[in-house]
């Protein structure tokens, strides 16, 4: 049997992490995580703050820093989803004007071979593509290319490609049809591939 004060002391001796330490230990990582998905510093900061507040109420003990971090990231994910649900109610989510031609100028327009790649304009060979992943300049190029995607499309793209959220779940979250989602992802992938080919792979032979 413990009084309120004694319980708190026991929690401290058990190693309940000090919330003030959370900000120092995990704040930057959580911010980066939120920024990829929300693309807005103010919203990302809010999400991080909400995460810490929810974590405070949660009150858990951990064996180690990485378990603590995973737990916080789990809370943050939900805060990010909440943001998308809210945003979906407030704004229209179709971004289909984006790249609406789907590179139509790179396919044969009509006649024989219509719809086929115009060979000189089709996908080029990427030499030693794997080695690029160790190169900081490649990642800068990647970030620049990803940065050209419209904000909504980028958010969806990250949810799917990086977080691996299933199509159905994204559609439920954003209230869009599966077909809409697939078209968006197709255009995003096509644009990203094209941009990296032009700005990186095409230049590093």
């Amino acid at each position: 049997m413990h009084t309120e004060g004694e319980t708190t002391d026991n929690q401290k001796t058990q190693g309940l992490s000090d919330p003030e330490q959370w900000v120092e230990r995990h704040g930057d990582y959580l911010l980066k995580y939120a920024l990829i998905r929300l693309r807005d510093t103010a919203k990302a900061e809010d999400a991080v703050q909400e995460t810490f507040l929810a974590a405070l109420k949660g009150g858990k003990t951990f064996q180690g820093r990485s378990a603590e971090k995973s737990w916080l990231v789990g809370i943050l994910k939900n805060k990010i989803y909440d943001h998308f649900r809210k945003a979906n109610r407030e704004t229209s989510f179709t971004d289909l004007e984006f790249y609406s031609d789907e590179e139509s100028d790179r396919f044969v327009a009509d006649g024989i071979g219509q719809g086929g790649w115009i060979h000189e304009l089709g996908p080029q060979e990427w030499i030693h593509a794997g080695e690029s992943l160790d190169n900081e300049s490649f990642w800068k190029a990647y970030r620049d290319c990803a940065g050209k995607l419209p904000k909504n499309v980028a958010a969806v793209f990250n949810l799917r490609e990086v977080d691996g959220i299933e199509s159905r779940e994204i559609c439920a979250l954003l209230n869009i049809s599966e077909n809409n989602l697939w078209v968006m992802l197709h255009r995003a992938r096509m644009a990203l591939r094209r941009c990296l080919e032009t700005n990186w792979f095409g230049k590093h032979v």
């Binding site: 919330p19 003030e20 959370w22 900000v23 120092e24 704040g27 930057d28 911010l31 980066k32 920024l35 990829i36 900061e45 991080v48 703050q49 810490f52 507040l53 405070l56 109420k57 789907e102 139509s104 396919f107 219509q114 719809g115 086929g116 790649w117 060979h119 089709g122 996908p123 080029q124 060979e125 990427w126 593509a129 992943l133 990642w139 990647y142 970030r143 990803a146 990250n158 799917r160 490609e161 990086v162 691996g164 199509s167 599966e178 989602l181 697939w182 078209v183 992802l185 197709h186 992938r189 096509m190 990203l192 591939r193 990296l196 080919e197």
Partner: protein, 102 residues
Amino acid sequence: MNFLSKTTAALKAGLRSLSPTCRDASRFQSETLDHQLPPAKRTGLWLHLLICKWCRRYGRQIRFLRHAAQANPDELTEADPQKLSGEARERIKQRLQGEEKN
């Protein structure tokens, strides 16, 4: 007349599935990353990829980019300046301290 044009449209759609253009195939390949294609499209895509090296390349490249992103999520934002600003850091700490007292 209506029946005929509907049938023709359906046949054309079926043919597009079974014999996609590169343009269609690039869309189908993207979709395979998100869900399983219906049988006709799946077969059509497979047939197309047998003979089209450009589309095979396209598929390899979009899959490569997906794996790259999944394997390196930390690279997707700048190392700097994506840290909590001093101001944000203080603000959040204050807020947490306020809550703790409650």
